[in-house]
């Protein structure tokens, strides 16, 4: 997933300028990492360079001058093709928790305690997300993003639970690999 494609997607609704694009992005994807202005402008310039977007003109409404961008035919094709592609299911997920458990074993720490503390942190975040989505007046995009995050955290938790049950084997294996 790239900022390019998100901006192309937002431009599909009609010409827009950088500030507005950033705001619309944050509205559509409330739980995502917010876009930085600088990132928006450099990405727009690259889109123009590649012929996917073009400058429509400038307007200023009394404020500072703003450049309006619009989608080209090529850009339109590009974004449609991208959205139509099936996202490849991740073959390997970067698993920081796993790395830390192994390092804890290597450094002679208590992996079980680590997993328990991690569980507490996960649960805390899940409570926050649950509170967020069940708060009166929560909008649909918030609920959907919270659901996505909750399910991923839940997957982490389930992985931690089974890992907890397999800690003895994991410790033995880690020590053996180290010795070899």
């Amino acid at each position: 997933m790239s900022t390019r494609h998100i901006l192309l997607g937002l431009l599909a609704k009609g010409p827009s300028h950088g500030y507005e694009l950033k705001q619309r992005h944050d509205e559509h994807f409330p739980q995502a990492r917010p876009l930085a202005y600088g990132q928006v402008y450099t990405t727009l310039q690259r889109l123009v360079r590649d012929g996917l977007a073009e400058v429509e003109g400038t307007d200023s409404d009394g404020g500072p001058e703003r450049t309006l961008y619009r989608l080209t035919e090529k850009g339109s094709r590009e974004v449609t093709a991208w959205a139509g592609q099936v996202t490849p299911p991740a073959p390997f997920v970067a698993n920081e928790i796993f790395t830390k458990v192994v390092v804890t074993i290597l450094t002679g720490g208590d992996p079980a305690a680590h997993l328990l503390a991690q569980r507490a942190a996960h649960m805390e975040r899940m409570r926050e997300l649950t509170a967020l989505k069940t708060a009166p007046g929560a909008d649909l995009t918030t609920v959907l993003s919270a659901d996505y995050a909750l399910n991923h955290l839940d997957a982490d938790l389930r992985w931690m639970t089974t890992t907890q049950a397999r800690l003895a084997s994991l410790t033995a294996l880690t020590m053996e690999v180290d010795r070899a």
Partner: protein, 229 residues
């Protein structure tokens, strides 16, 4: 952990075996007034047995259970029944509704058992059904309801007497995630509104996330420290 409200329900060193299978080995738990506590753990970790002991459904072999400062594990059977009707609301994964009674009669039943006239009981039952969005289904029998509707009716039945504690054992266990979400939102919302405490048994972390804190059981005892809110 220091500012937790005074415990409304408390279990100390509970021990309980079924035949030769130990279900609880020294479990301790406190639930404060208006607090929502999730008990999680693998199947067979003693979650349900803990709830049964706290709700006075089974007597522990050892240890104490107190409710509002009184020893629950020493009460005679009919006092326990009464307590479960008046101060406690109980909800299970399924089976708590009488299959032959309509939704509204199922909800009205605890009130009728307490001596409320049928008409009044039904009116109050309908208010609860309305609140949980199942009033239209009031004349249907449990078998004619969807899983989510059935659990919301069960929730209405658990809450209709205005209990101070709700014991919910896997209330979403048989539901898909969306129906489960509706039931949990209804349960938590109603408990917060009325100030009822909730003891929630679940194996599902997304359900446990509705609670104020999580207590984890393993092999019939609480794992590590309780997680602070």
């Amino acid at each position: 952990m220091s500012n937790r409200p005074a415990p409304l329900v408390a279990a100390r060193d509970l021990v309980k075996s079924y035949g030769r299978t130990p279900a609880l080995r020294g479990a301790c738990l406190e639930v404060g007034e208006g607090e929502i506590v999730a008990v999680t753990g693998a199947s067979g970790s003693g979650k349900s047995t803990l709830l049964h002991c706290l709700a006075g459904i089974v007597r522990p072999d050892g240890g104490t259970v107190t409710y509002d400062g009184k020893r629950v594990d020493l009460l005679p059977e009919d006092r326990l029944s009464e307590l479960r009707r008046t101060d406690f609301g109980v909800m299970f994964q399924f089976g708590q509704l009488i299959p032959e009674l309509t939704a509204v009669d199922n909800v009205a039943l605890p009130l009728m058992l307490a001596g409320t006239a049928r008409g009044t009981a039904q009116e109050r039952a309908e208010e609860w059904l309305e609140r949980f969005g199942v009033r239209e289904q009031k004349d249907l029998r449990p078998g004619e309801l969807s899983g989510g509707q059935e659990q919301r009716v069960a929730l209405a039945r658990a809450l209709v007497t205005g209990p101070r504690v709700v014991f919910a054992d896997e209330p979403t266990g048989a539901l898909d995630s969306l129906a489960g979400e509706q039931v949990m939102t209804a349960l938590v919302g109603a408990a917060r509104a009325s100030g009822a405490a909730v003891l929630l048994i679940t194996h599902d972390a997304t359900v446990a996330a509705y609670a104020d804190r999580e207590v984890r059981l393993r092999d019939g005892a609480v794992v590590g420290a309780e997680v602070p809110a």
